[in-house]
Symmetry: C2
Subunit: 342 residues, 2 copies
Amino acid sequence: MKITIRDVANAANVSPATVSRVINTPELVGEETKVKVQETIDKLGFSPNAIARGLSVQKTNTIGLIVPGISDFFFNELYVGIEEVARKNNMKVLLFDSQHSEYRVQEGLTFLKQHQVDGIIFTSRPITSDYDAILSRLDVPVVLALTQSYGTYPLKSFRVDDYKAAYDAVSYLISRGHQRIGMISGPTTDIIAGKTRLTGYKAALQQSSIPISDEAIEYGEFRFEDGYRAMARLLEKQSTNKLTAVFAASDEMAIGAMRCLHDKGIRVPDDISVMGFDDLRICQMSTPTLTTVAQPLKQIGEFAVSHLLKCMEDESTSIDNSIHYVSHHIVERESVRIIVPD
Amino acid sequence: MKITIRDVANAANVSPATVSRVINTPELVGEETKVKVQETIDKLGFSPNAIARGLSVQKTNTIGLIVPGISDFFFNELYVGIEEVARKNNMKVLLFDSQHSEYRVQEGLTFLKQHQVDGIIFTSRPITSDYDAILSRLDVPVVLALTQSYGTYPLKSFRVDDYKAAYDAVSYLISRGHQRIGMISGPTTDIIAGKTRLTGYKAALQQSSIPISDEAIEYGEFRFEDGYRAMARLLEKQSTNKLTAVFAASDEMAIGAMRCLHDKGIRVPDDISVMGFDDLRICQMSTPTLTTVAQPLKQIGEFAVSHLLKCMEDESTSIDNSIHYVSHHIVERESVRIIVPD
DNA sequence: CTGTTAGCGCTTTCAG
DNA sequence: CTGAAAGCGCTAACAG
């Protein structure tokens, strides 16, 4: 049932090599034979074995993608960018979900290595020196998306400037007259999406000489439920000195916070403004729609693949660990109101 | 740099076969050699080439997954189920996004065949006779998820009974006192998620002797924006005889519809009730939260893989085209109110 | 328990 | 322009 290149060769009275040529380098084959071979390929319904080819040419045309969790909403948008430029370059992508586990990340790296991927895109978790050994053994280019390297191993990364993005978000709030601004932060152990954004928040307040208070900060793991609960805690702590705005480190948490507010009968944005981070598709689905700072996820995916392809062609490209900051921007919707000073 | 099984064999003074054995069937190897080989594997950092192995054993431990679009929200939840049971059985999944294009589906099938996947899960688009040729040539088991086969090629499918689910949803609405119930349907060309659910809607109305009116039906492509626009159209047509409830063929459209209502100053559920289909995570994120009929997506994914694995072990399992209906259920949230008859 | 041999399906020199 | 032969890295009989 399984039909191979040899079968085609026999049927067409040529050698396997010739069949291979009409598939891969038809310009090297005489017109007549080309037609003849192509016909028998069609007739027999031959479809070349990509595995065998991969083994032979030592190249799989595959890029490996490690993501922290496929159920995170931002995955979809990132993937779209990655897949698109991969496909345009005849590359496929092999997906690995690390499920937010450090251990699984290691597994993923080994997995992708075993599958001879030609390059790897690593997302979301920061790379520490712990990975030096495994990375150097990998022998394929690796680029980072939405994260960066803190190890000694040089890795190019593509992401927004999370510090600046958070800073800008909070500055935006301040420009709208807000002074008592709370934050629902990611965990500070998450050095990028957690700690860095929190620092940006603090810096923006400081810049405007607004005192920073731990009372105004709560933490969550980026999910809707986390945002909901964090908001509830924030509310409890705020009995006397009420916040007029809350900045969340993810859209999901922002929407969770809005829901919490709603349940307590607090109106957004009338009583309190809410701002998110990411600009996922869900921002338009909440009521009110969510004002947020946008990360161009699709574009980041595109950049990452493009760079990877460059590295794969040209060995020398890979050895820098610069960060390519892709630009963020504020997307105004309905969840923030202007406070007029009285 | 690339280190092979032969390198390990040489370094450990054994044959490649022995190294292969300690990796795959350690029980067949003497304790001493096993230890020795394992040590040199570790020392050299050897990691077996899955491609070569695949070629040799004629099995890749991969299942191919064809989805209509990765940015559809339901993808994530389905994938979680698939990935989980795949992983537990040492299978990986190779993803292919058909991007809602018939042509890309064909490409996907060829792609997966070329990559020698051991089985295929096909989602969402109905299978017609057009696929008979390609499917029979595939030579690997195929199972359907969230769709079914209308061709002559026998294919087992796992999905909810969309007709019954829609019927139940609308009956639920009726039980809450609604009589003038509109529908935002998928396109009728989509035989499963479109036409079948619409039929369920009509049947439920009929059952309660409620007249069916085209005035009360609008169509969309399952997206938020489609729901929004469909609702707007529905509103225009309804100037005289107002609807008290709307049933949408997807959660996204339902949420879009609610947004439209919100923008027009119509309250949900006070003025009009809304019900969705799917029970995605976003249902809890809208305000009001969305009452819906749940498809157990994760479970469907699990079932599909499990069945596929069974087919792969036992050739005989595959040849039936039965439909395994997984049970749906209504999830009550806030978007439907009870109408007390006056 | 371990080594030898052949071969998975394809590509790629190297001749002709 | 085409064919023969070797080999990609691994596994699977088959001997021993």
